[in-house]
Amino acid sequence: MVDIVLVVATRECNKCRACEAMVGRLLGKHPGELSFRKVRDDAPEADEFGVVMPPMLVVNGVLVTAGKIPDERGLGAMVERMLEGSKAT
């Protein structure tokens, strides 16, 4: 299982929506293998990530991007590698 958290702005911008859509496509590609939470940047949980600039994408505790949309192919590869790692263990 790979844990994905998306920290979005209280007033979501286009980048927040684009990030969420990207995560949606990943969830569709890996049904049941990913957990996903969307957190607003003013929520207590967001403090743990040291909010800098939403959207922030956190994958298995690693902040992948802040304030920008990640490269979809790169993100997919990272998630697949993490899934393979978790299956191996």
């Binding site: 743990e48 990530f49 040291g50 800098v52 600039m53 922030m56 505790g61 690693v62 902040l63 992948v64 991007t65 802040a66 304030g67 920008k68 990640p70 490269d71 790169g74 993100l75 590869a77 990272m78 590698r81």
Partner: protein, 399 residues
């Protein structure tokens, strides 16, 4: 325990400084307001005098030439606005550089709205200002030149003595922003040939909210703050006696420990510089030949610096980036841009700045974390077609 490598932003307060400050407030002398005529006032005045002498000694100045302020930015504002206002000129010209701190650049920009004109001299790829460019920028209307001693993002030491000689010859004032240099470098105002020099306590283990301006005898300034006429009438307001005593203690320690501190910083810098050899597409922007050893600006191309810094922060390692939040977006650093770094490179740049408490172990831990995180983050942000970029690759530097 966290690892604090953001000492160019501010430094942790030194315990010795805290003790010196506590002694002012809670010591037997009961030092209070130095303007008061009773014993506790006189005790405060005595402490202020000692602190002023400590600072003056460190700068090669006389105690009467030191004006205490509420910080480095106030000192800079007083130097620039105070000298322009005191000049009585309707449209004086100011020369400064593209790599100055915003305290200088914003003050100059404001003075331009009040009728002044300004010339901003560029810097080279090593973040160094050419003294000849400063000389060329001086006109018959130039009142003052303002150049920093050490750059706050890259650590480059500027050729102030050469610039000072030019200013002296051309009959214009020289203000030196020594906020990042004082206490770290030996500073002598006569060697620098400067008329005004700003410094602050909190970059060398002193308290925040305390700074000073050196004002050469014969240089006139109009005060920013009017009131009780403290600080020889140049800066009114009851002095922060405890803070000033702390500033003096921090200066004493910095001067006393400089050689040992530099040796430790140099060792740490070697560990950080090693990242350039051990990883692809890494450029060290701070040239060891002309930079203070406690500042390393490093570009990790195709790794988002904000993401890197935030992940390091989540692990208790604190650094800063070459971008700043501005109007809801990330603005590349004006210093890195002035050096010629591309916007992409600016967004991939991290500043590691070492302080009095930094250890080699801390830096080694940081380097290990950086390697792991950069490799991971590049998977998401690094284009597949990227090869091994060298330090002169156009990915880093604008053609």
């Amino acid at each position: 325990m966290s690892i604090y490598l953001d000492n160019y932003a501010t430094t942790p307060l030194r315990p010795e400084v805290w003790d010196a400050m506590a002694a002012v407030e809670f010591g037997g002398a009961e030092a209070r307001n130095p303007s008061s005529t009773h014993k506790s006032g006189q005790a405060a005045k005595k402490l202020m005098r000692a602190a002023r002498e400590t600072l003056a000694d460190a700068l090669g100045a006389d105690a009467e030439e030191i004006i205490f302020t509420g910080g480095g930015s106030e000192a800079v504002n007083l130097a620039l606005k105070g000298s322009v206002w005191a000049s009585g000129l309707s449209a004086p010209h100011i020369v400064t550089t593209a790599i100055e701190h915003h305290a200088v650049l914003s003050s100059v920009a404001w003075l331009e709205t009040q009728g002044c004109s300004a010339t901003v001299v560029p810097a080279d790829l090593r973040c160094r200002v050419d003294p000849q460019a400063v000389a060329d920028a001086i006109t018959k209307d130039t009142l003052i030149v303002s150049v920093m001693l050490v750059n706050n993002e890259v650590g480059t030491i500027q050729p102030i003595s050469e610039i000072g000689a030019i200013c002296r010859e051309r009959g214009v004032l020289l203000h030196v922003d020594a906020v990042q240099g004082m206490g770290k470098l030996p500073v002598d105002v006569d060697d620098l040939s400067c008329d005004l020099l700003s410094c602050t306590a909190h970059k060398i283990g002193g308290p925040k909210g305390v700074g000073a301006l050196y004002v050469r005898k014969g240089t006139t300034l109009m005060p920013l703050i009017h009131g009780g006429g403290q600080e020889s009438g140049t800066r009114s307001g009851t002095q922060n006696v405890a803070g000033i005593a702390g500033f003096a203690e921090a200066v004493k320690l910095a001067e006393l420990e400089r050689d040992d501190t530099w040796a430790r910083w140099r060792g740490c810098r070697q560990v950080l510089v090693g990242l350039q050899d051990e990883m692809n597409a890494v450029r060290v922007n701070s040239d060891p030949d002309i930079c203070l050893p406690n500042c390393l600006s490093i570009t990790f191309l195709y790794c988002d610096a904000m993401a890197l810094a935030t992940n390091l922060s989540m692990r208790g390692i604190y650094v800063s980036t070459g971008s700043a939040c501005s109007s809801g977006d990330l603005e590349p650093s004006h210093v890195l841009k002035a050096m010629g770094l591309s916007d992409v490179a600016c967004h991939c740049t991290v500043r590691f700045s070492l302080g009095w408490s930094t250890t080699r172990d801390q830096v080694e831990t940081t380097v290990a974390a950086v390697k792991e995180l950069v490799d991971m983050l590049r998977e998401v942000t690094m284009p597949e077609e990227l090869g091994k970029c060298g330090a002169d690759c156009p990915c880093f530097v604008k053609a």
